[in-house]
């Protein structure tokens, strides 16, 4: 059965939220969910898209961008977030960098048993680092992205947005 559009989190909505919050640079490593967002970001003149070869490199780069007066966002998958532990600790938490982490929540489900350990450990990982997070599954949830940006600015800390994998429209 085809899902109606309102049941999806569209890439256009995510891009709109980024622009609304003044994002200038997106540190990104592609995952299986973000192809359409990639095309939109590449076409958006107000954004510089920076592809990193390993997620841990996105964190010092974001710190440098913020130090230089611009607004970074990090767009990675949960697997890469876990790979990035020490960079997150030292470069973002340690330097008090306000940055939103848009994290593809691979393996997440609310319809049964989670069998993908990428999902099993995602929230535990964020809790271990004391990072607050918001789950976003569809367009109606999109205001939570702005909540995350506002919280990052106020607290000078990273805040995560977990993009629920089951319902987004990035693969359409």
């Amino acid at each position: 059965m085809t899902q109606p559009d309102e049941a999806l989190l569209s890439p256009e909505t995510v891009l709109k939220e980024m622009k609304k919050n003044g994002v200038t640079h997106v540190l990104w490593l592609p995952d299986s969910e973000t192809n359409w967002l990639y095309q939109l970001m590449k076409a958006e003149p107000s954004l510089t898209l920076i592809v990193v070869p390993r997620e841990g490199l996105a964190f010092p780069a974001a710190a440098g961008i913020w130090a230089g007066g611009k607004t970074p966002a990090i767009l990675i998958q949960n697997t890469g977030l876990m790979e990035s532990g020490d960079s997150l600790r030292g470069w973002v938490l340690g330097l008090s960098i306000p940055v939103v982490l848009l994290v593809g929540y691979r393996g997440w489900t609310r319809h049964g048993v989670t069998t993908d350990t990428a999902a099993t450990f995602t929230e535990r990982f964020l809790n271990a680092f004391g990072i607050n997070y918001y789950l976003v599954e569809n367009n109606a949830d999109a205001p939570r992205i702005s909540v995350a940006f506002e919280e990052a600015r106020k607290t000078k800390r990273p805040v995560a947005v977990l993009v629920g994998d089951e319902f987004h429209g990035f693969n359409r």
């Binding site: 841990g56 130090a67 330097l95």
Partner: protein, 195 residues
């Protein structure tokens, strides 16, 4: 091999108003610099990120030269960033590598294949348009003005004498004269950035 402090003294004469991330050279640079508010002596927030941080700074401040003194142990953790930097082509980015062939802060154990890695070749292969290597101070001193007058990204590998530390971390005397927060605030104030 070159002495890190001598490299930095020569560089200082040609610095202009560049932003400088001194990396592992920080302990010397804090005594040499004449513009501390344009310096970013953060020490080592997490190993492997120096070049990424400096790239971010260069992209955010495209009209200021950004100079990083990276180290080979740090870069070996994150070689892929060379491809990202080459793709972004920051014209204001100058990437100096202090190669002491070892992990000096842990007692001097050699990095992988310590004596046989050509970092300038790797940088060129990753797409840096200009990459150089030096193992003596005279040649470096003769070329530094030309290096800094080229559009970035420019990579400069230099063999340096190891300055080995072997004390437990808690017993080492910190060379940093400002907290990391003070460093970033000072830089942003100098750049006119309102946070």
């Amino acid at each position: 091999m070159l002495q890190t402090a001598e490299i930095l003294k020569i560089f200082q004469q040609h610095r202009g108003d560049a932003i400088v991330f001194p990396g592992r050279g920080g302990r010397h640079w804090t005594k040499i610099t004449t513009q501390p508010n344009l310096d970013v002596p953060l020490g080592d927030p997490a190993m492997g990120g120096c070049a990424s941080f400096a790239m971010g700074l260069a992209l955010a401040q495209p009209h200021k030269k950004v100079v990083v003194f990276d180290s080979e142990g740090d870069l070996l953790m994150s070689l892929g960033i060379l491809a990202t930097i080459a793709e972004q082509q920051p014209k204001n980015f100058y990437h100096f590598l202090l190669d002491n062939e070892c992990y000096a802060t842990t007692g001097g154990q050699p990095v992988p294949n310590a004596k046989n890695v050509s970092y300038d070749v790797i940088a060129r292969g990753a797409g840096y348009p200009h990459a150089f290597a030096y193992d003596n101070l005279e040649s470096f001193a003769a070329d530094i003005q030309s290096i800094l007058s080229r559009p970035g990204p420019v990579f400069v590998a230099m063999k340096v004498v190891p300055e080995i530390e072997n004390m437990p971390i808690g017993q080492r005397k910190s060379w940093r004269t400002r907290s990391r927060e003070e460093v970033l605030k000072g830089l942003q104030k100098e750049l006119g950035i309102m946070i």
